[in-house]
């Protein structure tokens, strides 16, 4: 019996299609594709996993395994403002734990979580190469160096007042 269902071809999302187009249907490209999906969506949506699975002809469990292995790939979108506190050694030695604690306290969430309103999320990173400014944190990639609790408060207040 021939399958007449073409649901999958209809469902494809354009952004995904564009990404997949760039790569041969070769398992070796999985991480590169995931990196692009992460970049494009801010996380790896389930549907994207499904499409990658079909395109590369690999089981979804294997893709899930790779996604969950690498810290960069996340399964849920981050908050609108993602605060990343560097916990690299240089920053740690300069007291980044206190910075992180303060961020957690202010937002009432833990590392890897997003506030209920979806506005903020917290991440911890390893050295971002700005050890000269340690301790360092970033908000959506913008770097704040020589951080203090006051600076954290100031920056969070600023973003709280933004949309």
């Amino acid at each position: 019996m021939e399958c007449k269902c073409n649901c999958n071809s209809n469902m494809k999302d354009e952004k995904m299609e564009q990404i997949l187009q760039k790569y041969d249907a070769d398992k070796n490209n999985l991480i590169q594709i995931l990196n692009e999906v992460q970049e494009a969506y801010g996380y790896i949506p389930k549907n994207a996993q499904l499409e990658i699975s079909e395109y590369l002809k690999m089981p979804m469990a294997e893709i899930y395994g790779v996604i969950t292995f690498y810290a960069r790939f996340i399964l849920k979108p981050k908050g609108k403002y993602n605060i990343a506190v560097c916990l690299g050694t240089a920053c740690y030695v300069k007291g980044s734990e206190k910075i992180l604690d303060r961020v957690k306290q202010r937002l009432g969430i833990d590392v890897g979580e997003t506030t209920k309103d979806g506005k903020f999320s917290i991440e911890s990173t390893r050295c971002i190469g700005a050890c000269g400014l340690a301790p360092v944190f970033t908000v959506n990639g913008e770097v704040y160096g020589k951080a203090t609790i006051e600076l954290v408060d100031k920056v969070i207040d600023e973003y709280m007042n933004k949309d």
């Binding site: 991480i31 590169q32 292995f69 690498y70 690299g88 240089a90 050295c127 700005a130 050890c131 000269g132």
Partner: protein
């Protein structure tokens, strides 16, 4: 496409124009404003500085002044750094707002902006970069072009002898001769283990197989290290050129560079370098008219420290989770897609062109008996000058920390230095005079590692530090083998216990048993070295462990659970500021009666102490 002739011509022409970058000839008309575009300075707004300079120059119609973005100068803690050539004046901690003044005063009026000059560690004001103590003991080989050239301009690279080594190798040397040169230079892998680079090349060359690969390990997972990143950002072509030389030597025509995706500037610069090299016909077929061909691709890592381990890296390039493979077989025989593969670190490659051009003898004259050449360190932590330093092997730790690093800030005392990151060990004061080379560091329980060097002052608790490193390895363990997967977790739990005042007498012995088992039975280098931070702190700072366990005390007050926040009523001015700042409402009392901290409620965040203007809370 450029012919070899054309490339040689670019070199000749361009160097005339760029001579002012290295020589201070006073009577050239042009000026170059060099602005650091390394990660450190970029983070403190150097792109904006570049933009402002260009805008102001245009507005004021000033010609003959070029603004150039460079790689890291090294002294990142004084960034953003601006240098004006040919007079070689060095401005530190420049802000975008300072640009106007620099143009007006320095460029137009020809006077130095005194307030932006840098104070050295001995408090003298320094005009030129290399007058700083920071640079005096350094020797830049791997970092030769960093801070000198515009990394995004292949011509500038060519001007400073770029692709000359490749030319020499392709036209004048046989693969065996190249390998011999690398071998006799004594260069050892800078990725950590210190394996003799020439030997590795030889293994890859004699390995059987038509298809071979060259891989560059730019994963740099050590948290607190940014040497490789700085090289890629400041001088990407030198790595590219070295990979081609390696390809020629071992018989590979394809290379991969594995860079962490968290290094966007490095990725983008390296990609640009590849594109430019392809445009010039340096990458591709029939390179320099020979029948050598080479192709290069960038592969991105995605945030896993273990992917720096060479076999995990190969798995990751192949698109899989980065779980290490069992060795043997070694990558030289069975690497990427089971083909012979040469893997070297960024810094290792960065030395190659210099060795080819200046000769093995020149190189092997630098350094110590067993460790030749220089080593780049990312110096960080409680030290005055934080940044990138490159020193000859054999330099002592004391020289790095005190002469180059300028010692410990805030009048505190040196306590320990950590080399080798999470795989390394803590080095106490008594070993500060150790000469840096692979063997000496190993002897005192640490290791060279990739070059992270973190200095700690006496405010740091060593048990807490060991816990920090172990927390890192627990997070980063791939989970493949039992001892590392569960063992490191158990060690971490014990350390957590100790820092929380719940340590038991037998915990030290337990740590030792676990450490020994994990080191000896783990699959890869991550597990095999993970216990080092614990072992070295146990070796040199056992007292601290004992104090935590027996007296439930942490002398540095870093271990929150062992400290009690208290208001010193003698000092307290009853201003009430602390009350408002306590996030959990643990401070009780009134302005009349004074304030007290409810230790049950207090979460020891330290906020009240940091807010109190009178330092009444400890």
């Amino acid at each position: 496409m450029k012919t070899l002739e054309e490339i040689r011509k670019i070199r000749e022409e361009k160097i005339k124009e760029l001579d002012i970058r290295v020589n201070s000839s006073e009577n050239v008309k042009e000026k170059h404003i060099l602005v650091c575009h390394g990660t450190g300075c970029t983070s403190s707004k150097s792109p904006k500085i570049i933009e402002n300079f260009r805008k102001i120059l245009e507005e004021k119609n000033i010609e003959n002044v070029r603004v150039i973005q460079t790689g890291c100068f090294g002294l990142c803690s004084k960034g953003p750094i601006v240098i004006i050539r040919p007079e070689d004046v060095f401005y530190a901690m420049v802000t975008p707002e300072d640009c106007e003044e620099i143009i007006n005063t320095h460029i137009i009026e020809g006077k130095i902006v005194e307030r932006l000059l840098c104070k050295d560690t001995n408090n003298t004001t320094v005009k030129k970069l290399d007058e700083l103590n920071f640079y005096k003991k350094q020797k830049r080989i791997a970092l030769k072009n960093c801070g000198v050239i515009d990394p995004e301009n292949i011509d500038e690279y060519i001007a400073f002898d770029g692709y000359k080594a490749l030319e020499k190798v392709l036209l004048e040397m046989s693969p065996d001769e190249v390998i011999k040169e690398v071998t006799s230079s004594g260069l050892r892998g800078r990725g950590g283990a210190g394996f003799l680079t020439g030997k590795k090349w030889e293994f890859a060359k004699i390995a059987e197989g038509k298809q071979k690969y060259v891989v560059c390990n730019a994963d740099e997972g050590d948290p607190g290290a940014f040497m490789d990143r700085s090289i890629l950002e400041g001088d990407p072509h030198c790595v590219l050129e070295a990979m081609m030389i390696a390809g020629y030597s071992i018989g590979a025509n394809k290379g991969y560079i594995y860079v962490r995706a968290e290094y966007p500037i490095a990725v983008q610069r390296f990609q640009k370098a590849i594109d430019q090299a392809k445009e010039y016909g340096i990458l591709g077929k029939n390179i320099f008219g020979t029948d050598f061909e080479f192709d290069l691709e960038v592969r991105l890592g995605a945030g896993a420290f273990v992917c720096g381990e060479e076999t995990a890296l190969l798995e990751s390039i192949e698109g899989k989770s980065g779980r290490p493979r069992l060795k043997p077989p070694f990558p030289a025989n069975s690497g990427l897609w089971q083909k012979p593969t040469l893997i070297n670190n960024v810094e290792t490659y960065a030395n190659i062109t210099k060795i080819i051009l200046n000769g093995a003898d020149w190189y092997s004259n630098i350094g110590t008996e067993t460790s030749k050449g220089t080593k780049v360190f990312a110096l960080g932590g409680n030290v005055v000058n934080v940044g990138l330093v490159e020193v000859p092997m054999g330099t002592t730790l004391r020289e790095i920390v005190f002469d180059i690093g300028g010692g410990i800030p805030n009048g505190r005392k040196f306590k320990a230095a950590q080399t080798g990151g999470p795989s390394g060990g803590c080095i106490p004061e008594e070993h500060l005079d150790t000469h840096i080379d692979y063997e000496s560091l190993a002897q005192i329980g640490s290791m060279m590692g990739s070059g992270g060097l973190i200095v700690m002052d006496d405010s740091k608790c060593m048990v807490n530090l060991a816990k920090f490193y172990l927390g890192f390895t627990v997070d980063e363990s791939c989970g493949k083998c039992t001892p590392c997967r569960i063992g490191t977790k158990r060690m971490l739990e014990i350390l957590e216990r100790i820092t929380e005042g719940k340590g038991q007498e037998e915990d030290i012995e337990k740590l030792e048993i676990l450490a020994d088992t994990i080191k000896k039975t783990s699959v890869c280098g991550l597990g095999q070295t993970a216990p080092n931070p614990v072992l070295s702190t146990l070796k040199y700072f056992k007292d601290e462990y004992l104090a935590h366990i027996e007296n439930k005390a942490c002398s540095t007050k870093e271990c929150k659970a062992l400290t009690k926040m208290q208001i010193d009523s003698e000092i307290c001015k009853k201003c009430g500021l602390c009350v408002r700042n306590c996030p959990v409402g643990a401070i009780v009392g009134s302005r009349e009666e004074g304030f007290k901290i409810d230790t049950e409620k207090c979460i020891k965040c330290g906020l009240c102490a940091s807010k109190c203007n009178f330092k009444a809370i400890k």
